[in-house]
Symmetry: C2
Subunit: 472 residues, 2 copies
């Protein structure tokens, strides 16, 4: 990993100029080439250098996306799909320039099939919009990466978040997609059946492909009944180890917990300050239970027992909606809280995920490493899945500090991979984790590249993400 992965590629100046000319004629005001638009549509969410697209286009439907792709394909011009700009991995950068395709006008909910517990949406619908729309149906869409991301972006990066431990990730919750591929055709990967053995799993191939195989034009999602009863709460622990061990036992006993999030003492302190909360400034677990009233009570009692077995507690629950919302809003604002905490510093979020039996060890070694290396890196994590983030702070203009940070992150990725885990549980590869991906997958990466080359031979679909050819 490292800044070294974030290289600008060769630019096809002539093609870019020609494509912009044609697009301008066709799309008028819905094509923008001004600096502010270009800047807004490049990478903004971490320390990575911005690489601006040459223009931004705002299609209103999949027909327009097909037109855009055909024009860009004719002139071999890069296309970078853009949702809400909340990617943490440089997915929105345009290392070879080209056209940012902003899908925010494509924000219609095309169908809600309440009786089938599914819906179909355009890619620009955000998860919060969707849940507002669903409110009267008694259903909800559970995947929640914190940011109010677009469903298209969430599918493209195989997003998950706080309640994946119960409801799965975008991998499990996308039933099918339509996408415009590099040749400008729109394909559908399937229907709405819950199971299918109909050939290669193209749905799962597009989910997590980071815009490198096509632009999603609609997504069919699973929905869930809003639980009869929800109980959230905070449980403090003497040490991070104790908290993690309580998580491991909770998962191993099969308690169907809906959310179980770790914050170390530093993270709690920062979040308390930012959100005006008074959580105990020790390692804590934020937890949530979903079910019938009886089952929620049963789950919470079992968890309470486990927590006290590891010296944790008391578990303070918030069953009132406002208290619950306040709790999770604070958790979701962690990234902002941390940024505000060290206003001058740059930051980066790591994203390893390991088998749960290795989680305590992985977090312990990572904390020891950060202490040894003098790196400020509080930890928050979706620990029920074995996934945690170190929020690493550093001074981007100090080469030594950057090097130290990069070495720390590389060691963390290697550690997770050596534990049979992955360098990324939910953020994706983007520009910054390409060498970690090579360490993790070896020759399987060549397979991915063969697929990419077969489906996008001119490499116009979000080039420089996942892999930067030529591969070794």
């Amino acid at each position: 990993m490292g800044l070294s992965d974030v290289v600008a590629g060769p630019r096809n100046e002539e093609g870019i100029a020609a494509a912009i000319g044609i697009l301008k004629q066709r799309f008028g005001e819905n094509l923008q080439t001004g600096d502010s638009h270009r800047r807004e549509h490049s990478h903004t969410m971490s320390y990575m250098p911005e690489q601006l697209p040459d223009a931004v286009v705002f299609p209103k439907d999949s027909g327009e996306i097909q037109e855009i792709v055909r024009i860009c394909a004719d002139h071999r011009v890069p296309i970078v799909p853009f949702g809400t700009g909340t990617s943490l991995e440089g997915h929105l950068n345009a290392p070879r320039g080209g056209i940012s395709v902003d899908i925010n006008r494509m924000n219609r909910i095309l169908a809600v099939n309440a009786e089938d517990l599914d819906c179909t949406v355009e890619p620009g619908v955000t998860r919060e919009d969707l849940n507002v729309h669903l409110r009267d149906t008694g259903l909800f869409f559970p995947i929640d990466p914190g940011a109010n991301a677009s469903i298209g972006g969430m599918a493209a990066t195989r997003a998950s978040g706080t309640n994946a431990v119960r409801y799965g990730t975008m991998r499990e919750n996308v039933l099918s997609v339509t996408a415009v591929t590099a040749d400008g055709r729109e394909i559908s990967t399937g229907g709405r059946a819950r199971k299918s053995a109909a050939g290669y799993d193209l749905t799962r191939l597009f989910v997590g492909s980071e815009g490198t195989l096509g632009i999603l034009t609609s997504i069919t999602l699973r929905l869930f009944g809003i639980p009869q009863s929800i109980l959230s709460g905070v449980c403090p622990f003497p040490t991070v180890d104790d908290a993690v061990n309580a998580v491991i036992m909770t998962i191993q006993l099969g308690i169907p917990i809906a959310r179980i999030e770790l914050l170390d003492a530093t993270a709690v302190r920062i979040i308390n300050a930012h959100s005006g909360l008074e959580n105990p400034e020790t390692p804590v677990l934020f937890v949530e239970f979903h079910g019938t009233e009886d089952s929620v009570r049963e789950q919470s009692a079992s968890f309470d027992e486990i927590a006290s077995e590891f010296g944790g507690g008391p578990f303070k629950s918030a069953s009132k909606v406002e208290d619950r919302n306040r709790l999770w809003k604070a958790r979701h604002n962690a990234f902002h809280a941390f940024s505000a905490f060290r206003p001058g510093a740059s930051s980066l979020s790591t994203d390893v995920c390991v088998p749960i039996s290795r989680l305590a060890e992985c977090i312990r070694e990572t904390r020891e490493d950060s202490e040894r290396s003098g790196i400020f890196a509080p930890i928050i994590g979706h620990v029920g899945d074995g996934n945690f983030h170190s929020l690493v702070f550093f001074e981007a203009d100090q080469p030594d500090d950057v090097r130290r940070m990069e070495a720390f992150v590389a060691r963390l990725n290697d550690r997770a991979i050596a534990m049979d885990g992955t360098c990324t549980g939910e953020h994706g590869i983007g520009q910054r984790k390409q060498s970690a991906l090579r360490s993790e997958l070896g020759p399987a990466l060549d397979l991915m590249h063969s697929i990419k080359a077969a489906l996008d031979p001119d490499e116009i679909m979000n080039p420089g993400k996942i892999f930067t050819p030529p591969l070794s």
Copy 2:
């Protein structure tokens, strides 16, 4: 669909002879060219014509598989992976001849990580072997297609079965695989992390690829805690419609039912006779609940209420292990019971899967169609997922009867596809559903073929399955 899809392709006689010569030297007694071996390793489970491989090889490990693939690749010789031979779709036929690779000697359980609820097995381990091995751990592997299939075969066909409604299919339960690809390299698609956003989802690409992209050499699976309490039972209904409507309501209310299987009156009658049971000879649901004692009681009471709302019941439960086993054994033996019921006739199992809101309609229209067409086609199905099988009987030596059957099946597939469903919920495409797949997916099929061509340019991996090139 139809017999017309099952065409023998061109044979590379010279290459096949050369490869067999080399393999014979290398593998000695573990390569067999005798008729009985060849016959045992071609298609056996339905009316499709057998297409024999030229030889059968029995590798003992992935190193030997790599050797075999390299030899076959050098001579452009087809490879057909073979598990337990229980495919229903001609996956084991060798339309262009070649080498059947029987993976039954690769039957080691490589690791059980009880604390992570996962295990890694060689492809020849059967699901029953695995569950026997797991018995003392308190864990089990839930996917259960009826046949005691190999885990490799189940992964390759994206199998599911009776309790997918609760535990998912092979799609959800394979964490990663290793596979030998057409160039003889072994790749690993990932580790054991529960979540991953590390590039294209190669795991899901191999799951369901029907041996056309490589040979699986190990599979890492999710495991589940054996439920504290299990309750099975049978519930009769006045009509199939009533039974299906009860299923729909059960799913829509989010009752976490573990199994919910429909048998129409004819199916019940045949199974009763075959297994010496005395189920009421009306449409029935076989159901099962998993959970704590309290939750199982709660689930079963809710189901009981729903059933009586649709005129069903009484729900007769069997909590004793022997009674439960007898029940599910009878369900699993349905295919054998049906075959025995009409000993002279040929049969075929359809496999459509539709959104649950369309299930009653789809089954009703299918039953009306079979009555109108004079086709004997009792129905059994994994109705909680919207998946059901018509077991279609016909006389294979009567061209008119074959034509009538093929037209009936084609109408059924079209009906399901028009309802946003699929022609195959769990059996796969194989040789017989290729035109249905084209109707279902259109240009997405070309995408699949591009992937196939990129990863297996000489088309040696199970050729003639999923698609028979050249594609239109």
